[in-house]
Symmetry: C2
Subunit: 190 residues, 2 copies
């Protein structure tokens, strides 16, 4: 039942976006009774938080191209492609919008990105092993710099956030990491 409700939540978000998500719509689409959905998920925001929990738990294809430049480019393109996708894009935007309006959705979103940063750290660790970047490079910060310009374009400035923007953001993160500008602050945990 939980999977059916989560699938219905994602499908409703893809079709209607965040403002169009209702417990009634998810109940009707999932075949789960409305009162059950209300009792277990509480509201549209509860449905989104649960969908985000599932998204965070899903395996994420961390790129492994053989170079830090290639891996960061692939990672940034995954983000750009996801937001441009006609099905995934509205869902991903809905997650961010929900977080601006609900503490529960915000907590779920933050946990989702913390998990993504942890998973993506692998590509920086490989670059350290290859000697491409200093040993004390901060993996999460490299990932942040590689994807942040895309989110800035998508949610703040409204500028194009396609493949070219992804490649430029990735190249900047790679150059900064190679220059030693993204090492961990003194005293930080590894």
């Amino acid at each position: 039942m939980r999977d059916a409700v989560r699938d219905a939540t994602l499908a409703e978000l893809a079709e209607r976006g965040y403002p169009g998500l209702t417990v009634e719509g998810v109940a009707a689409r999932s075949g789960v009774h409305k009162t059950t959905v209300y009792r277990r998920w509480g509201s549209a925001v509860g449905l989104i938080a649960d969908a985000l929990d599932r998204a965070a738990a899903q395996p994420w294809p961390v790129p492994d191209t053989g170079t830090l430049a290639g891996d960061l480019r692939a990672l940034a393109r995954l983000v750009a492609t996801g937001y441009a996708d006609p099905v995934e894009g509205p869902v991903a935007r809905a997650f961010v919008l929900a977080a601006t309006q609900s503490g529960d959705a915000a907590r779920a979103l933050h946990a989702f990105f913390a998990r993504r940063h942890q998973q993506s750290a692998a590509l920086v660790e490989r670059a350290i092993e290859r000697g491409e970047v200093p040993a004390d490079t901060d993996a999460a910060e490299v990932v942040r710099v590689a994807v942040a310009p895309l989110f800035y374009r998508l949610f703040i400035t409204g500028e194009p956030a396609g493949e070219e923007a992804a490649d430029r953001a990735a190249a900047a993160a790679c150059a900064a990491a190679r220059a030693g500008a993204l090492t961990r602050p003194p005293g930080a945990a590894t």
Copy 2:
């Protein structure tokens, strides 16, 4: 009258945030009659778009510290300090939230940031003149890389976005620019 309404809009946003902004509240605070506010601004979103227009027109203290590293650090700290400010912070957040819910507010927000990028280009042009970065460095892209991690932390990941985060983002942008990773794409306008 327009200034009184804009001041009242900013004061209401600072006190109540975006969800609490109403034409009635702005009318009462500004002393302008409610029907006049409705007729000229239409709605809370119209008030926000107008306040953003004014914010974009205001002079913006583009840092001039003598080095690109210093200028970018000062720029990123301006952003971090603004969002942390008890009065400015809620207003700046309200601008971004309003843009997620209204095309008019989104257009005003995008124009605001386009103007900020234009104004901030001066600090990159000075770095080019000093020979710190390649002559074909893309000024707007340097600014994006320097501030995007802060917006990513504030609006997407919910991570700390204070002075340390500002300094790290600025350092990454400076290193990337110096390494020649932020030049204009071939064929792009200057």
